[in-house]
């Protein structure tokens, strides 16, 4: 597709349930990022993928959060045993990063998944 897509757009779940959020980056983009945005707040970095590996997982708030990426394309963010504090918009971004290491470039964002934990 032309841009980053995310699904579902909205997810309502009960406390304690597991959820999976999906991100389809722009074709050819090797870098992929997940962020969390609470209502009225800024972006909180969660994890970064270069290809299928994650050199930076420093933002994952707890071991309930995990992410994977396959085929240097789609990524899924999984939240286990969801808590009400997990309610937020989860944003995915991708960038070209042709150079891999030592290269900085623009991130393009998807529309986000709004997660509500009841």
């Amino acid at each position: 597709g032309a841009g980053v897509s995310q699904s579902p757009s909205n997810k309502v779940t009960e406390k304690g349930k597991d959820v999976e959020l999906r991100c389809d980056p722009i074709s050819g983009h090797t870098a992929l990022y997940w962020y969390r945005q609470r209502l009225g707040q800024g972006l909180e970095f969660l994890i970064y993928f270069q290809g299928n590996s994650a050199p930076d997982k420093s933002g994952l708030p707890s071991d309930r959060f995990s992410a994977e990426r396959t085929g240097e394309s789609v990524s899924t963010l999984t939240i286990q045993r969801t808590q009400q504090e997990d309610s937020a918009v989860y944003l995915c971004a991708s960038s070209l990063q042709r150079g891999g290491r030592g290269f900085t470039d623009t991130q393009y964002f998807g529309p986000g998944t709004r997660l509500t934990v009841l």
């Binding site: 707040q41 970095f45 270069q50 050199p55 930076d56 960038s95 030592g102 900085t104 964002f109």
Partner: protein, 114 residues
């Protein structure tokens, strides 16, 4: 630690006036800066960028200024329109461990008064 912060959480401007949104950063090693616009219910959208070897860059109705001496970044919007109402984020990008590290500011909400 490293941080990027905004001086004004909310900015109200009259339609047609110019808007200036400010951002302070603390990592002098950051070499790339981006301004994003986020409308309600949408993801951040790229507006304009600037690399650290420049101090000014102009786009259509937008200008970004970079002052590395005081680690300050600003976004100027000329002739502000109602469609400019949104939250604006600055982002600083640098290398950490050889990989790209991005730090976002907390955001400034721009309200355009018709």
């Amino acid at each position: 630690g490293e941080s990027v912060g905004l001086h004004l959480p909310t900015l109200s401007v009259q339609e047609g006036d110019n808007s200036i949104i400010n951002c302070a950063y603390s990592n002098s090693a950051s070499d790339y800066f981006i301004w994003y616009k986020q409308e309600s219910g949408k993801g951040p959208q790229f507006i304009i960028d600037i690399r650290s070897n420049m101090d000014k860059r102009q786009g259509q109705r937008v200008t970004v200024l970079l002052n590395k001496t005081v680690k300050h970044l600003s976004l100027q919007i000329a002739a502000t329109q109602p469609g400019d109402s949104a939250v604006y984020f600055c982002a600083e990008i640098g290398l950490s461990g050889g990989y790209q590290k991005v730090t976002f500011g907390t955001g400034t909400k721009l309200q355009v008064i018709p």
